[in-house]
């Protein structure tokens, strides 16, 4: 199976941005082997990383502080965890909350007792605290109250968690924000960007979350043992695997995708290049075919366990299950043994739902790590777009026409196309979405109105001389500087722009959230509205004790058993 990586593998044509950068398809994304949790855990696994717990000052009720340390890529990172009582009325997953069951910082190195005391005075306050350049990431979490207590009670009575409840909830705590990159005074990304283990975007945040997951496992073991020292049992290996870490995600993720256009491009270009390489495989060997058939079956069982209350998403899941039965019927070993199996499968998938199409994209990457994993090194931002002021107006017009046809086609005389405005609330800087014609504040809207701005730019470009430089044009029209720079970036970053009008009445922010969360590696998307979703992170992933085992990377779309 090993292939030399000394030359670029053959590639089929990449899928066009007009196809893949649409909100509805982005909102059907699934985690894949180049998702950040997967790339991080492969690195931890490769290095045989050893997690230690140098501090455990937790009382019988589960309150106190703890530190976990792990060496990765030659550097040590430490999760500093604080667990404190929380009044029921204060428990909220929203950004506007001011207290949580637990709060965390990822520290660069091993904290001293003085560091711990400083962090204890700030971390539980989250945004109301201040931090030093030694802190890399900040997070907080709330207990999944009933299930947390259920697990503790079962362990204390010598039993594992009820498998049905475990399947229904799947985590002991939910994170409600994970911050990085210099927020609140902690380290800028430049501090760690050159470290091989942290070069990939969001590895810091994903390491933070993986360590938090381990802390939640240890916490229930500890409380159960305190309740019944003689009779309590610890979580089994199977239970630990099945317990991920929950997350509630709201609108905060959405503007990120518009603001970080080269990063969005690079993520998407990596996934599409990986798909193109796999589609170019002329013949699959028997082992790979057997693996894919097994993964199709695993996906089917995973889908059977994916239940949500949201009717829109549940309808999509039901359709997906039906499509997947057709996938199973079609993609048997004989069909896949013929030439160009993945090209044929992807082409064939056009008849199925977007969910099925994108699930197949994720699936076919899975057995081809040797072909695609090197692309993981490209999952970082790279240089930010720079304006080329010498470009001629005629050339910018051509660029806009080539890359923004979707924006130029929007009819903004239709009120439905400007239904929403995005803004930031005074309430703890929470990002929100307003209805333009019903709510105040549109004059302060955030610049996510790319399509509208592109049309304004094109109108003024049309009135300018084609041979004029962009420098002269922008001196007269500084209001177009923002979108002119974006348009120029499209020449080298064709996947940089979400190709839909984010102001339109039919815009579903949940699509942006799911896309980004899938790239993180999350699964079991559980939308609670068009504005926020619950997810499960690291469910099925190896824990601290399992890093280095042979199957530590084989946790794509986990299936939970009946008897953990």
């Amino acid at each position: 199976m090993a292939r030399a990586q000394t030359r670029t593998p053959p590639e089929a044509p990449l899928r066009h941005p007009d196809q893949v950068m649409r909100l509805d398809r982005m909102g059907a994304a699934f985690p894949h082997r180049l998702s950040f949790m997967r790339t991080l855990l492969r690195r931890l696994n490769r290095e045989g990383a050893d997690v230690t717990r140098p501090v455990w000052e937790i009382d019988a009720e589960g309150y106190g502080r703890a530190v976990y340390s792990v060496a990765l890529g030659g550097d040590v990172y430490s999760l500093v965890a604080f667990s404190q009582p929380l009044a029921p009325e204060a428990r909220s997953d929203r950004v506007i909350a001011t207290a949580w069951d637990a709060s965390f910082a990822l520290f660069d190195g091993v904290p001293t007792p003085a560091d711990l005391d400083r962090l204890q005075a700030n971390v539980p306050k989250q945004e109301a605290g201040r931090y030093s350049a030694a802190e890399l990431s900040l997070s907080r979490a709330n207990r999944s109250v009933r299930f947390f207590e259920h697990v503790v009670a079962r362990l204390a009575s010598g039993q594992q968690p009820d498998p049905v409840m475990l399947r229904e909830v799947g985590y002991l705590m939910r994170t409600t924000a994970v911050y990085g990159n210099g927020k609140l005074g902690f380290a800028d990304r430049a501090r760690i960007a050159d470290r091989p283990a942290m070069r990939t975007s969001f590895h810091v945040e994903m390491l933070n979350v993986w360590l938090i997951r381990g802390f939640t496992h240890d916490l229930v073991d500890h409380i159960a043992k305190a309740r019944n020292p003689a009779g309590a049992v610890a979580l089994s290996a199977a239970s630990r695997r099945a317990l991920g870490i929950g997350n509630s995600t709201g609108l905060g993720l959405a503007p990120f995708l518009v603001t970080h256009l080269t990063l969005l491009n690079n993520w998407m270009a990596v996934r599409e290049t990986a798909l193109a390489r796999v589609r170019a495989v002329r013949q699959a060997d028997k082992a790979t075919i057997a693996r894919v058939v097994g993964l199709i079956d695993r996906a089917s069982r995973h889908l059977a366990q994916w239940q949500v209350a949201d009717q829109v998403q549940m309808d999509r899941i039901i359709r997906l299950r039906a499509d997947w039965r057709e996938v199973q019927a079609l993609a048997n070993a004989n069909w896949l043994a013929a030439p160009d199996p993945w090209e044929r499968l992807i082409a064939h998938s056009a008849r199925w739902s977007l969910e099925a199409q994108e699930l197949l994209v994720a699936l076919v990457l899975e057995p081809y790590g040797d072909l695609v994993d090197d692309l993981g090194d490209r999952l970082a931002a790279g240089p930010r777009p720079a304006l080329d002021p010498g470009m001629k107006v005629a050339d910018l017009r051509a660029l806009v026409a080539a890359h923004y046809g979707w924006a130029l086609a929007v009819d903004f005389s239709d009120a439905a196309q400007q239904h929403f405005f995005w803004y930031v609330s005074e309430a703890k800087l929470e990002p929100r979405l307003g209805r333009r014609h019903d709510e105040a504040g549109a004059e302060r809207e955030s610049p996510l109105d790319i399509a509208r701005r592109v049309q304004a730019l094109m109108g003024d470009l049309a009135a300018a001389k084609g041979g004029e430089s962009l420098a002269l044009f922008l001196m007269r029209h500084p209001e177009h500087r923002y979108v002119a720079r974006r348009a120029q970036a499209m020449a080298d970053h064709p996947y940089a722009e979400i190709r839909d009008n984010l102001l339109a009445a039919n815009c579903r922010p949940i699509d942006m959230l799911r896309f980004k969360l899938a790239f993180f590696g999350a699964s079991k998307f559980d939308p609670k509205s068009d504005l926020w979703t619950r997810i499960n992170m690291y469910q099925g992933a190896p824990g601290f004790a399992e890093i280095g085992q042979a199957d530590a990377d084989d946790w794509w779309l986990p299936v939970l058993g009946d008897a953990p």
Partner: protein, 204 residues
């Protein structure tokens, strides 16, 4: 107080937007202040001076290869000054009574880094060279008459960027955050209930 460089950039961008500048100009202001802070220069002073400057000036006039700005407002005029030197539309730029010369240094530093060039900035009290990695020479004072030209070759100064954040003056930062706050929309019951994600209480 100590800030991360990212806080400097993001907050200055928001402050420039809050002061009424176009998004693209605000982005450039944020990047310029990041560049200044990374080199130990007073980014908050530069930003506060520029964004608190009263409205004025009348845009640039190009003649005989020289672009002239009267009563120059650096947030608005600085990017155009550098653009026209880079595009070759102008061979020199004069900014009269520039309100925030230090911000112009930051804008020039970013442009030098991105385009691989260097700049010569002459003012009444001296001159300085601005490269992508730093500056060398005497800084101009607010209100100075500035003449800016592009040097034939990039001139590395050998100054290493600092990491670990930067110190800013409390008064400057308060002024900047007040401008940034102009972008925030006051809370209402409707926005609290319908405009954001995540539920209030969850006990699953």
């Amino acid at each position: 107080m100590r800030l991360s460089l990212n806080e400097v950039e993001v907050t200055l961008k928001k402050a420039a937007m809050g002061a009424g500048y176009a998004t693209g100009l605000a982005e450039d202001t944020g990047r310029a202040c990041f560049w200044l802070a990374e080199r130990g220069l007073d980014a908050a002073r530069a930003g506060a001076a520029a964004l608190q400057s009263p409205a004025g000036g009348g845009g640039g006039e190009l003649g005989d290869g020289c672009l002239r700005f009267a009563a120059a407002r650096v947030v608005r005029d600085g990017p155009s000054a550098l653009d026209l030197l880079l595009s070759g539309d102008a061979s020199s730029v004069e900014l009269e009574a520039a309100d925030a010369p230090l911000l112009l240094v930051g804008l020039a530093g970013v442009a030098a880094a991105v385009h691989g060039v260097a700049w010569r900035l002459v003012h009444a009290a001296g001159a300085l060279v601005i490269g992508g990695d730093g500056v060398d020479g005497a800084m101009p004072k607010p209100g100075a008459m500035i003449r800016l030209t592009r040097l034939a070759e990039a001139t590395p100064t050998g100054i290493a960027p600092q990491t670990g954040g930067c110190e800013v003056g409390d008064a400057d930062w308060a002024a900047i955050t007040a401008l940034a706050a102009r972008l925030l929309v006051p809370e209402s019951d409707a926005s609290r209930q319908a405009g954001a994600g995540a539920g209030a209480i969850d006990n699953d």
